[in-house]
């Protein structure tokens, strides 16, 4: 077996028939995709996270909300160790990723392997200066998947998942920069989806987009969550309420409250949460 085909067999996520997936999801509603335990994080001497403990439920949208500077993006960026690009950062605690219960933030774990397991979409759409096709295929190439038929199939699949296929299928070789802002962001989502991540991180993915493009992405998340576990940071409370099943409210590096979105927004147990979701501060 050639290496690339072996890698692709190893790395293939047999998401299979969507109806099957849905059925199995309903059978196991309580499955946990990632388990965050007492996670602490430092930028140099500054402690940005003071012990966060929360579950990330499988194939659900979990939203992280909170005022600016509360640590919500910091928390999100721990999940694929993107912090490691900058000097002087330090983690303590655990983010255990199912099914192997690998602690993503453990020192001995290669951040590159973490990023191969966990996909990320950034605040500003940042497609590569390449063609639409090359953008989506980029994540496959990194994993050694080079078989043309397979790459083509998975590019199409990812673009369909990101609800972009119909808009770009006739111009896959065109530069990604020719797309509109909203399309670029969906392209970035497709790029993250193509390698079938265990967890998809979205860092305020709609903050740079207009309302129509935003609505499209929110709609997209609804359909995606059948196949993927999504963790999203948003400063838009209404968005969190609309799209997420679970919500975590953070303030000054602390997880103040975590719960089902409906309960957290309508009947929070902590006054601070109530003040924030009703707009009294933040």
């Amino acid at each position: 077996m050639t290496d690339s085909s072996r890698a692709s067999t190893l790395l293939r996520d047999s998401s299979g028939d969507p109806t099957m997936t849905q059925a199995s999801t309903t059978e196991t509603p309580a499955a946990i995709r990632a388990d965050v335990r007492d996670l602490k994080f430092w930028y140099g001497k500054f402690q940005a996270l003071n012990g966060v403990t929360m579950p990330i439920h499988d194939r659900k949208v979990t939203a992280i909300i909170g005022p600016s500077g509360c640590g919500k993006s910091t928390l999100l960026r721990c999940f694929n160790r993107i912090h490691d690009l900058y000097p002087g950062v330090r983690y303590e605690g655990q983010i255990n990723l199912a099914p192997e219960n690998i602690n993503l933030v453990e020192k001995g774990i290669d951040p590159i392997l973490v990023r191969l397991l966990v996909g990320m979409v950034f605040q500003k759409p940042n497609p590569f200066p390449k063609s639409i096709y090359e953008n989506v295929a980029a994540g496959l190439y990194v994993r050694g998947i080079r078989n043309k038929t397979e790459v083509e199939g998975r590019v199409e699949e990812a673009l369909r998942q990101a609800a972009l296929w119909n808009e770009v299928k006739d111009r896959l070789t065109k530069p990604a920069f020719e797309l509109s802002g909203g399309q670029q962001q969906r392209l970035c989502i497709a790029r993250a989806l193509a390698p079938k991540p265990k967890l998809l991180l979205l860092d305020e993915p709609t903050s740079a987009l207009d309302p129509i493009a935003t609505a499209k992405i929110e709609e997209l998340m609804d359909s995606l969550v059948k196949d993927v576990t999504i963790l999203i940071v948003t400063h838009n409370l209404a968005q969190a309420a609309r799209i997420s099943k679970f919500t975590a409210f953070m303030h000054m590096g602390n997880l103040v409250e975590f719960g089902e979105t409906e309960q957290l927004f309508t009947n929070p147990t902590v006054t601070q949460t109530q003040d924030y979701v009703t707009g009294r501060f933040g």
Binding site: I112, L113, F128, P129
Partner: protein, 305 residues
């Protein structure tokens, strides 16, 4: 209104001052441009008529009208080939390391100060380095290889600085998304950073090579001969392996040295030859720089859209 009057006067004075200075600026500018134009015109008048097939295909001679620059332009081509082959990869490598890899520590600081210091070292000092180290220290002699090496060292800082600037201009979002996809550092650098920085690096490489083409002092210092009446062995041969590297070990001369040599002769006939060589040198460097400027202009336009 007295106040209005004096305000108006202040405004008027300011305008006169500004105009005066603007005129001064334009005068200085025209002066600089006039020097460049005079220099070009002087060379063209003296030397353009001398450029013909005989001039390009003959070896140097004691009679100015029979002399040519064949060995000089062949030497320049071979030396520049070696220089480009050494300076471009080494310079890009150093620039990439300093921008993408180097941690903030004393070693990176040392390297950084070193590079900017090397940029200011006079070219003739590089010549002394090559004479003492390459020619005698390593025993390489006064060859094409040594000429290419010394010019490569000389333009290395130019390529390094250009690479660093081009790499720094690559948006950090591009890096983050590539790392976010699971690329390792080399993949990020090779597949994303380098392609984006390519035009800027190319500009720097061209500017560096154009400087090397006209550089005379270090080549004189290593003891390159001014009178060469033969060509280095051809790099291509009929028998396998078809490539021949003997030319690297051949003595050589280059165009700026030929020009220097002819300028220093008392006979006016040689001065004409010098001017003709100067026209060719100037033409090459100006075309290379013009191309670099054009590239950069396009690059900037590309970034705007």
């Amino acid at each position: 209104m007295a106040g209005g009057f004096s305000e108006r006067r202040i405004v008027a004075t300011a305008k006169v001052q500004d105009l005066t200075f603007a005129v001064l600026g334009v005068i200085v500018l025209f002066f600089a441009m006039a020097m460049l134009a005079t220099l070009v015109a002087d060379l063209l008048i003296d030397g353009l008529g001398r450029i013909n097939a005989q001039f390009l295909t003959d070896f140097p001679s004691r009679r100015p009208e029979e002399a040519g620059i064949l060995s000089a332009w062949v030497g320049t081509s071979l030396v520049m080939f070696v220089t480009a082959l050494l300076a471009i990869p080494l310079g890009i490598g150093a620039g990439l390391y300093l921008e993408e890899y180097a941690a903030k520590n004393w070693l990176s600081d040392l390297i950084e100060i070193n590079v900017s210091n090397l940029a200011g070292v006079p070219s003739i000092i590089y010549g002394l380095l090559a004479l003492g180290f390459f020619v005698y220290g390593l025993g390489l002699g006064q060859t094409v290889l040594v000429g290419g090496m010394v010019l490569a060292l000389l333009i290395l800082p130019i390529v390094v600085v250009a690479t660093r600037e081009a790499v720094r201009a690559v948006p950090s979002g591009l890096r983050e998304s590539a790392y976010g996809l699971g690329c390792n550092r080399w993949q990020v650098v090779w597949s994303y950073v380098l392609p984006s920085a390519r035009p800027g690096i190319l500009t720097g490489a061209i500017v560096g090579l154009s400087r090397a083409i006209g550089e005379t002092a270090p080549i004189i210092t290593i003891g390159a001969l001014t009178f060469i009446a033969f060509l280095p062995p051809s790099p291509i041969q009929a028998a396998p392996p078809f490539l021949n590297f003997d030319w690297l070990n051949s003595p050589f001369t280059v165009m700026p040295i030929q020009m220097f040599n002819w300028t220093s002769r008392p006979q006016a006939g040689f001065h004409v030859n010098a001017a003709a060589t100067g026209v060719l040198l100037l033409g090459m460097t100006l075309i290379m720089n013009g191309f670099a400027i054009y590239l950069r202009y396009h690059l900037r336009k590309g970034q705007r859209s």
